[in-house]
C-alpha cells in the first residue's frame, strides 16, 4: 500500500518538474517565473513563441504518452498477454495507414483524421485477434501475427513517402512520428478524444480485473466475457488511434509502462490504469525533451529514442513472459 502511494507521489512530482523543465528549456530559454508572467500578460515575445510552438508539443506528448500506455494496459488485459502493445501488434500502423490514405483521397476531411485512424486501428486489431485465435490466444503466435500485420501497414504507409507528394508527408504525423510543428488545433483534438478514452478506460477497470481469470471462471461469475472484451478493445484502439493520428507512431510505450507499473503498484487495474497514464505521459515527455535538447539545434524524434530503449526491453520480457501471468 505504502509503495503504491509513494510511487504515485514520485511520478506526479517528476511529471510536474519535467513539464516545467521542458517548457523553459530549448533553443529559447526562459525562467519559470518569466514563463508564467509572460503567459498571463502576453507581453514577452519569447514566451509567445514558446506558447505557439513548445506548449502544444508538451501537451501532445503528455496525452499521447498517457493514451498509448493505457491502451497497452487494456490490450494486455483483453489478450491476457503482457506483450500486447498497440505499436508492436500493428494497431498503430493500421491507424496511421488509414488516416494517411483517407487524407490523401479526401484532403478536406482532415478534421476527421482521428476517426479514420480509429477505423484503421480497429481493422488491424481485428486481423491480429482473429488470426492469432486458435482455441485461445497464444502469446507468441499473437506477437508473430502482430509483427506481420504491422509490417504490412507500415509498408503501405511508407509507400506514400515515395509518391513524391510533399503535402502528404508533411500533413500526416503518422508517417513522420515527429512531435514538432504541432498546433493548438492538434492539442484540442487529442485532449478531447484522449480524455474520453482515458475516462472510459478507468470506467472499465473492473472488467479488466475479471478478465485476468480464466474465461470460463469469469463467465460463471456472470461476466459477459465477449462483451467486456469488445468494449475494452474499442477503448484501447480509440486511445492508440488518437495518439497515432496526432502524435505519430511510438512503439513500446504501451509495453514498457504497464510492465513497470505492475511492478510498482500491482495488477489491480483500478490503480494500474491511472498510474500507467501518469507514467506514460512522463516517459514520452522525457523522450521528447531529451530528443530536442541533447544535440540541439538538431532533433532526435522521440519515437526513435523509445524504439532504441524498447527493443531490448521487449526481448527481456519475451524471455520471462510466462512468469508474469503464471499460476
Amino acid at each position: 500500500m505504502k509503495k503504491r502511494v509513494f510511487s504515485f507521489m514520485i511520478v506526479t512530482l517528476l511529471l510536474i518538474f519535467v513539464t516545467i523543465y521542458s517548457a523553459t528549456t530549448g533553443s529559447i530559454k526562459v525562467s519559470s517565473v518569466e514563463l508564467i508572467h509572460g503567459l498571463l500578460t502576453g507581453t514577452n515575445d519569447d514566451v509567445q513563441v514558446i506558447k505557439d510552438l513548445r506548449l502544444p508539443r508538451i501537451l501532445i506528448s503528455l496525452f499521447a504518452g498517457a493514451a498509448l500506455s493505457v491502451s497497452g494496459a487494456l490490450l494486455q488485459a483483453v489478450m491476457k498477454n503482457p506483450l500486447a502493445d498497440p505499436g508492436i501488434i500493428g494497431v498503430s500502423s493500421g491507424a496511421g495507414f488509414m488516416s494517411i490514405l483517407m487524407v490523401t483521397i479526401f484532403p478536406t476531411l482532415f478534421f476527421y483524421m482521428p476517426l479514420f485512424a480509429f477505423l484503421g486501428g480497429a481493422f488491424a486489431f481485428f486481423l491480429v485477434y482473429t488470426f492469432s485465435w486458435k482455441s485461445g490466444l497464444n502469446p507468441l503466435r499473437m506477437i508473430l501475427v502482430g509483427v506481420a500485420i504491422n509490417a504490412v501497414f507500415s509498408g503501405l504507409s511508407q509507400s506514400f513517402n515515395y509518391r513524391g507528394s510533399y503535402a502528404v508527408t508533411s500533413i500526416s504525423a503518422a508517417t513522420t512520428s515527429n512531435l514538432s510543428m504541432k498546433t493548438w488545433n492538434d492539442v484540442g483534438v487529442i485532449v478531447i478524444y484522449g480524455s474520453i478514452g482515458l475516462i472510459m478506460a478507468i470506467l472499465v477497470y473492473s472488467w479488466c480485473n475479471y478478465l485476468a481469470l480464466e474465461d470460463k471462471t469469469a463467465r460463471n461469475l456472470g461476466l459477459n466475457v465477449n462483451r467486456a472484451r469488445l468494449i475494452i478493445s474499442i477503448v484501447a484502439v480509440l486511445l492508440a488511434s488518437v495518439a497515432t493520428a496526432i502524435a505519430g507512431m511510438f512503439a513500446f510505450v504501451g509495453l514498457l509502462i504497464p510492465h513497470i507499473a505492475r511492478l510498482l503498484v500491482g495488477t489491480d487495474h483500478k490503480v494500474l490504469i491511472p498510474f500507467s497514464a501518469l507514467t506514460g505521459a512522463l516517459l514520452l515527455l522525457i523522450a521528447d525533451t531529451l530528443g530536442r535538447t541533447i544535440i540541439a539545434p538538431n532533433e532526435i524524434p522521440a519515437s526513435i529514442l523509445l524504439a532504441v530503449i524498447g527493443g531490448p526491453f521487449l526481448i527481456s520480457l519475451l524471455r520471462k513472459s510466462d512468469r508474469i501471468y503464471g499460476n
Binding site: Y210, A212, L213, E214, N220, G222, L223, T267, Y325, N327
Partner: protein, 256 residues
C-alpha cells in the same frame, strides 16, 4: 435441476455427449465418474452453460439455463473449475470478493450484504486469517479453498466442482472433500462434482452418475451402482467390492 436429452459435440463429428437425461436433486451431493474422455467434465460444462448443446436442454427452476442472463445464472449456480489462474499479487479477500460480481452493479462498491457473504465464504473455507495473504504464498490446498470461497460468495444454491482434488496430496484431498460435505450438510448447498477416485465418490456422494463414451450408464445411490461387474465394464479392470463397518463400501483393484 433437470437434464433433458443432451447431445453435444465440439464441432467435430464425434458426439462427446449422447442423449443424456437425468435429474439432479436439490440438497444432495451428486458425483459424476467415468474413464478419461468419457465426457464427465463436458457434461458439467453443459450444465453450467459453458457449452451449448446441439440437442436437448438443461432446466434450472423450470427455466432453460440458456435463457438466463449471465448474472442471473451466476446467482443460482457457481462453478469451481479444474484449472484456475489469477494474478499472483491478488489477495485471498480480493479474489473472494470477485464472487460478488453477480450481485453488484459495475460501479457500486461493496454493500453490507456483500461484506457479509465474503465473511461467510472465508469462514466456511477457514481462510479468515489468510485474507491479506497473496496467492503466490498459498499452498495448493489453500489455493483450492480460495477458489471455493469465491464460488461460495456467489451465494448460489448449486455448487459445481470439476475434479476439485486433482493436483492435491491425500491430506488436502480429504480436507476439500470434508469441506464440500460440510457445505452440503450445514448450508444445504446442492453439489455436483466430477471425481476420479471411485472410493471418494462412494464415500462422499448421495448419488453417483457413471458415464462411458459420452453416454450415461447408470445413476443411483453408491451401493446400488458400484459393483465388480460395473467397474469391469467401465474401466476394464478387475476389482473386489468390499464393505466394512468403519469404511462402508469400498473397492480394491486386483492384479491380473
Amino acid at each position: 435441476m433437470e437434464i433433458k436429452d443432451i447431445t453435444f459435440s465440439y464441432g467435430d463429428k464425434i458426439n462427446r455427449l449422447h442423449q443424456i437425461s437425468g435429474e439432479i436433486e436439490v440438497g444432495k451431493i451428486t458425483t459424476i465418474i467415468g474413464p478419461n474422455g468419457c465426457g464427465k467434465s463436458t457434461l458439467l460444462g453443459v450444465m453450467s452453460s459453458n457449452y451449448l448443446p446441439q440437442q436437448g436442454h438443461v432446466l434450472l427452476d423450470g427455466k432453460k439455463i440458456g435463457d438466463y442472463k449471465p448474472k442471473e445464472l451466476a446467482r443460482k449456480l457457481a462453478v469451481v473449475h479444474q484449472q484456475n489462474g489469477a494474478p499472483l499479487d491478488m489477495t485471498v479477500e480480493r479474489l473472494t470478493a470477485f464472487g460478488r460480481l453477480p450481485h453488484r452493479n459495475m460501479f457500486s462498491s461493496l454493500s453490507d450484504q456483500d461484506e457479509e457473504a465474503i465473511e461467510w465464504a472465508l469462514s466456511c473455507t477457514n481462510l479468515q486469517d489468510k485474507r491479506h495473504i497473496t496467492l503466490d504464498s498459498l499452498s495448493g490446498g489453500e489455493k483450492q479453498r480460495v477458489w471455493i470461497a469465491m464460488a461460495l460468495a456467489q451465494n448460489s444454491q448449486f455448487l459445481f466442482l470439476d475434479e476439485p482434488t486433482t493436483y492435491l496430496d491425500i491430506y488436502y484431498q480429504y480436507e476439500i472433500l470434508d469441506l464440500i460435505k460440510r457445505l452440503n450438510l450445514e448450508h444445504g448447498l446442492s453439489i455436483v462434482m466430477v471425481l476420479h477416485d471411485i472410493n471418494q465418490a462412494i464415500q462422499y456422494s448421495d448419488t453417483i452418475i457413471v458415464m462411458k463414451d459420452g453416454k450415461l450408464v447408470i445413476k443411483g445411490r453408491p451401493e446400488e451402482v458400484i459393483s465388480e461387474q460395473l467397474i469391469a465394464d467401465i474401466y476394464g479392470i478387475e476389482v473386489i467390492v468390499k464393505s466394512d463397518v468403519r469404511t462402508g463400501l469400498y473397492i480394491v483393484p486386483i492384479k491380473s
